[in-house]
Amino acid sequence: MTELLQQLINGLSLGAIYALIALGYTMVYGVLRFINFAHSDVFMIGSYVGFYLAPKLGAGSVLGGLAVLFSAMAACALLGVIIEKLAYKPLRNRSTLTVLITAIGVSLLLQNGGQKLFGPNPRAFPKLFPETQLHFGELTVSSNQLIVLAVSIFLLVMLWWIVHRTRIGTAMRALSFNATAASLVGINNDAVISFTFALGSALAGAGGILYAMNYPSIDPLMGTLPGLKAFVAAVLGGIGNLPGAALGGLLIGLVETFISGTRASTFRDAIAFAILILILLFRPAGLLGKMRVEKV
């Protein structure tokens, strides 16, 4: 029982990070209908921003840690907007495939640029927050896990508020519903798309920091696997659907943690894909997505 609860907590804190990244995929898919492959590398950049800023911003205290977290989010938001303006904006109304390949190009650029800039070897991520182990009976919870959960919940609530209670959020929803109609009622589609990229990339940046706090070894290729799993999470929940992405992230995190505890642990990385394939075969619209009928 204790074992189960312990795994549950580990799984939730991993799943919360996947959820943050998955939201970025799902939001971009919602407004532009393509898979932003470079998203996982924005996540990696987030970790490195944290790595370089941590000594300067006084990491190790609660305030310093939060400062690092928010500056990484801001840096990633900026990066996301730049990527969108330079690489994706010239491709509006082109075929999905062209945009997809460009996104892969951006992803390769960030990975290889990262290897040149940061060096290819793994680095040890510094401590951001004061660390303690909390004991509840036989249960051990690290303060980092609690911070991950708290920050994720806070960001999810903020995101919900932005999307549902602000003008720009309403515009985002309108755009993903029908882009042409949105521009007809006076929404500046380009501005909304930029904002979406900023929002999604900021969440990826936060994900990068939180991930590096729990797995404190970072390298320029670290984004690929968590990125793919988060994408699976987005599809699992129904791509384009925000609560779905959060739910999918938590589920993937839980399943992966439970698999790691069994003898099949070396197959851990393949599990997410197996889930993806099953979900696409039996419920292609995802858990919370709406089925669409194809019309000629």
């Binding site: 898979i35 390769l108 650029l109 070396t266 894909f273 993806l276 394939i277």
Partner: protein, 312 residues
């Protein structure tokens, strides 16, 4: 007189055989690059059938290549000492058998992947094939009999110029002949408009699966050639990036064009060599090039308005 396309195939095979006979006099570095070109053409032409002509989007070609590479390598490396005497010690009999078995197993993997997932479209299919490619990689990393994550070593170097160019020529010919047959027109119909093709009485799913199986077969054969060229296999070498490399050849060649894709495969393989001197900058330049080309020339490198598109 046989059709022109068959004469082309025959001529290529003869030239490959003659050049191969003199390969001892060719600079080994040049030879190595040339064989790499042959394998790249095979991979690109086979993926072109799936991504170009049938209009699907597979991102898992490296996975099928891995299946072919490992199975043919296991045949020649582990069972080779027993099998060689059976064919009179003749490598030129054993090697093609190993290649074909590797290709067949890859085709089987293609069927297993294609049958359930080809109901999906566009980026979903891309992601599922990507997932399958990664799963195949993880499986090879976990099977100790083929070296696991350490890789498979000691594969005999059977690949030579004749095999690489012969296989490339056969692949291009088969794809070409298939598309120009009565049956094969269906691939183009499916790519153009699936619903219309279905209304005409074609079965799009069957066409897609056929394309997938044939494409995977040749990817598997190319994998076998690769294994016996390098003499060493590492599951990490068949990752997502390898698949992307092949996809880029098909896209820059102009999806669904025979000559353009062959040229792109040759160009992209050869251009890697001078870029090697740039070290770390090589991949940065490569990715920048990819982005710029996608923005400026999404229709492919070798496509000009003067060139009429023949098959689509």
């Amino acid at each position: 007189m046989p059709p022109k396309s068959q004469l082309w195939l025959l001529a290529t095979l003869v030239v490959a055989g003659i050049v191969s006979a003199f390969s001892g006099r060719i600079d080994p570095y040049f030879l190595d690059v040339a064989m790499g070109v042959g394998i790249a053409v095979t991979l690109a032409a086979s993926l072109n059938l799936i991504n170009g002509f049938t209009g699907q989007f597979s991102l898992g070609h490296a996975g099928f290549m891995a299946v072919g590479a490992y199975s043919s390598a296991v045949i020649t490396t582990n069972f080779g000492p027993k099998l060689l005497p059976l064919v009179g010690g003749q490598v030129w009999i054993l090697f093609p058998i190993a290649l074909v078995v590797g290709g067949l197993l890859a085709a089987l993997a293609g069927l297993a992947v294609g049958a359930p997932s080809l109901r999906l479209k566009g980026d979903y299919l891309a992601i599922v094939t990507l997932g399958f490619g990664e799963i195949i990689k993880v499986i090879f990393q976990n099977v100790d009999a083929v070296g696991g994550a350490r890789g498979l070593v000691g594969i005999p170097n059977y690949t030579n110029l004749f095999w690489t160019f012969g296989v490339a020529a056969v692949t291009v010919y088969v794809v070409w002949a298939l598309l120009n047959s009565t049956y094969g027109r269906g691939f183009l119909a499916v790519a153009d408009d699936e619903v219309a093709a279905e209304a005409m009485g074609l079965n799009p799913t069957r066409y897609k699966i056929t394309a997938f199986v044939v494409g995977s077969f040749f990817a598997g054969v190319a994998g076998g050639l690769y294994a016996h060229l390098k003499g060493y296999l590492n599951p990490g070498g068949f990752d997502f990036n390898k698949s992307i490399e092949i996809v880029v050849m098909v896209i820059l060649g102009g999806m669904g064009r025979h000559v353009g894709v062959i040229l792109a495969a040759i160009l992209l393989t050869v251009v890697q060599e001078p870029l090697r001197q740039l070290g770390d900058w090589r991949m940065i330049l490569y990715s920048l090039l990819l982005i710029v080309l996608m923005i400026t020339r999404p229709q492919g490198l070798f496509v000009w308005p003067l060139w009429k598109k023949k098959n689509a």
